[in-house]
């Protein structure tokens, strides 16, 4: 068992404050934690945090618009890979000219996240090598997460909308507001005259005029678009690849095709409204998303979740992890060219797990099962023809271990898989940590960082399980680590079924639809199947979150995609992407 060293309880406060007098001040607002850092000292502070205090992992970067104060705030959550809670740093900048130094050189994992914050808030990260929109397109006017920006079918600041009740006169939004009337472009942008710059000049990192290494022949580099409509991209996702022959010189991920501004919707919603929306982030593993969001809100509400509900939650989340990894392994094989036979063998057990979810929560994938302080419903009496407990016992003690063994016999020693995967897309541990990689991607590189141990939540401290790691960080290890994790998850499920109390409450307090959440901020994070899934929430004490941010592992993990693919052949891109395991619902949000 990998023991995680308990974090040394040294207050970084004193150290930081004395080191940077005047530049680092504790955040004194009620319900807030962490430090406010002066913008001009941010890079020094971050470097000191990383090099001297062990905060080597930048979990999340985002922005908040405090419109009443005329300020935009960049929010950073830094952690130690040895474990412990996140340290929150904030940098404030005036709304009119928000400039914050970029942390890309200190934490390369900030790359896409800073671009996202720029895209959504217009915060200019000085020194960022490639600061432009990432989820929206170039012809988009305004910064959509700013509080004064209104969406096309804007109806009100917060839900519930007045027009629904008591005078509910139904009008289709489309009829009320004609599409072309909603469109606004940035100053100087006219769509009629706009000639899309070629992708090449749009991404100045490419230089196609450079000749390839033709070994005596005169060759040119070639820019190829893989996607957005390509079966290997697992959704609508584009990779802009520069090739020298078949070798990849550069790769730039292009995303946002599935963007719906989940976070703006989340800020219009009430706290409870958001729960079913989280299902649609990583739609393969809705239970984990539910749990992450519920934890973030429960932290602010300070509710205690009943025992039985905690066990049910863990059971659901671990079964979700198994589902996700079965899909990830199955799809990786698809990407390697073994079309759907392994994928279908892999998801056979997933069907039964989904049956269980459906019988319990009412839906196979969009579960919407967790509530603040518990879960929506208790386990059902029966699942299909079986008694629920018999069904679950059979599944976690017999079927799942057997299915994983089967899959292992089927795939692990396969020579084709080995030759396609071993040594391809290698991610060294230092790079993995620097780029904020999370989940199986990080652990396959030998970094034993698993939030269930590093910063335990729910009741994970009660279970005996191993934080699996693999040493090589290639595609093969990422496949193996998922197999290991499925076994560990099955082990946790077995312990849940052994220890779960047979009766008792499943929800703290009475079901309430209009929860008020005390003012403050909270960052709830869980070890989702794809990595660290975090929810940053700011409440002002009302029924709607003031800020709702999702730290999406799929989004941050593909920051690395370009690095991993360089030097490999074009056919390996598909396998490397498959081994990272992304879901576009979460990447694009």
């Amino acid at each position: 068992m990998t023991e995680v060293v308990a974090p040394t309880v040294e207050a970084p406060a004193a150290a930081l404050e004395s080191r940077f007098p005047g530049a680092v001040t504790p955040d004194a607002r009620a319900g807030y934690s962490g430090y406010v850092v002066a913008a001009d000292q941010l890079i020094e502070v971050a470097t000191a945090l990383r090099d001297e205090m062990g905060y080597d992992y930048l979990s999340s970067v985002t922005g908040v618009d405090y419109i009443a104060d005329g300020k935009l705030e960049a929010v950073y959550h830094a952690c130690k890979t040895t474990g412990g809670p996140a340290l929150v740093l904030k940098v404030q900048a005036p709304r009119e000219a928000p400039v914050v130094p970029s942390l890309v050189n200190v934490y390369p994992g900030a790359d896409f996240q800073e671009r996202e914050a720029y895209d959504m808030y217009g915060i200019r990260f000085a020194g960022h090598p490639n600061l432009k929109r990432i989820l929206m397109w170039e012809g988009f006017a305004g910064y959509p997460l700013r509080k004064d920006w209104k969406e096309a079918y804007y109806e009100g600041e917060t839900k519930p909308f007045e027009s629904r009740w008591p005078g509910g006169d139904f009008v289709r939004a489309e009829e009320k507001n004609i599409f072309s009337h909603n469109v606004a472009y940035p100053a100087g942008f006219t769509p009629d005259d706009w000639v899309p710059e070629s992708e090449v000049s749009q991404y100045p990192v490419f230089d196609p005029s450079t000749q390839g290494e033709g070994h005596g022949l005169k060759t040119d580099k070639l820019v190829v678009n893989i996607g957005p409509q390509h079966p290997s991209t697992h959704g609508v996702f584009r990779m802009l690849v520069t090739l020298d022959g078949e070798t990849i010189v550069n790769l730039q991920p292009v995303m946002g095709y599935l963007h719906r501004n989940h976070e703006k919707i989340g800020e219009r919603n009430t706290f409870l409204h958001n729960m079913p929306f989280t299902d649609r982030l990583d739609y393969i593993s809705s239970m984990s998303n539910n749990l992450g969001y519920a934890l973030a809100v429960e932290k602010l509400m300070k509710v205690k979740v009943p025992e039985r509900a905690e066990y049910i939650r863990v059971l659901m989340v671990e079964l979700t992890r198994i589902c996700n990894h079965l899909w990830a392994v199955g799809f990786l094989l698809n990407d390697l060219g073994a079309f759907f036979t392994p994928a279908l063998y892999a998801i056979r057990e997933r069907e039964l797990i989904l049956d269980f979810f459906e019988a319990t929560a009412g839906s196979r994938m969009m579960c919407n099962y967790m509530r603040f302080g518990g879960v929506a419903r208790d386990l059902p009496e029966r699942i299909r023809d079986d008694n629920t407990l018999d069904f679950l016992n059979d599944m976690v003690f017999n079927r799942l271990p057997r299915a994983i063994d089967d899959l292992e016999t089927y795939l692990t020693d396969n020579e084709i898989i080995r030759s396609r995967c071993i040594g391809v897309g290698v991610l060294p541990p230092q790079q993995a940590v620097a780029f904020s990689a999370a989940g199986p991607l990080l652990r396959a590189s030998g970094v034993a960082y698993d939030l269930r141990r590093a910063d335990p939540y729910s009741i994970y401290d009660r279970f005996d399980f191993k934080v699996c790691t693999r040493p090589n960080g290639d595609i093969y290890d990422r496949y193996l680590i998922r197999m290991d994790e499925m076994r560990e998850s099955a082990k946790i499920c077995q312990q849940v079924l052994r220890d779960m109390p047979t009766g008792g409450d499943i929800l703290a307090g009475k079901p309430a639809y209009n929860v008020r959440v005390p003012a403050g901020e909270s960052y709830g994070r869980v070890e989702g199947p794809k990595g660290e899934l975090g929810f940053y929430i700011v409440s002002t004490g009302k029924t709607n979150p003031y800020r709702y941010h999702v730290r999406a592992p799929s989004f941050i993990n593909i920051t690395l995609l370009g690095e991993l693919c360089k030097g490999h052949k074009v056919a390996d891109v598909v396998a490397i992407l498959g081994s990272i395991d992304i879901v576009l619902g979460e990447t694009d949000r």
Binding site: P160, F161, F170, Y345, Y410, D413
Partner: protein, 201 residues
Amino acid sequence: MYGLGIVKGLWVTVQHFVDTYTDDIRWLSKRYIDPDKLSYRQSSKGKGLFTVQYPEEKLEVPERFRYLPFLLYEEKPDGTKEDRCTSCGICAKVCPPQCIWIERTEDPVTKRPVPAPKAFFIDTDICMNCGYCAEYCPFDAIKMDHDYEIASYDRTGAHVYDKEKLSKPVSYYAGIRPTDYAAEEQARAEAEAKKAARKAR
């Protein structure tokens, strides 16, 4: 030996392949026509192919399955229908995508609200099947349906359900969700007994 891994993998494929045939033979031709066989095949005891030949075969949905809300009405002995809905508006407020529109009835003389909906719309294109309306309705007046075959040729109007299209009798509800129905009836009976006892005192 090089290639042994592939052979091992192929052996697994052969086993799956043989399983599908032996299972077919076991059921003879009944495998695909008998609904009982479908539920067995889909259960954890099933072997062989586990795909479902939709629409010839349909998977049984569990009781808690939720797909689009519907409104409940009581069938009175005299043949009239009485809506359970009091147009309190909780479902409209708790709906995450805000797909419920309710118009409250007003008394024509006093202009005061009457606890019954005058109009009730659900835009099923927007509905995300979360089930909150049913979960938080204090009158058990709106519940989630089991009927998932709602495709139509009209992109606009046909997907906006009005009160008439939404209303279904309580007996239908008791049929699709017997356990929930029984539990709710019991709770109601207990509450009424308590109320009566309090009155008697």
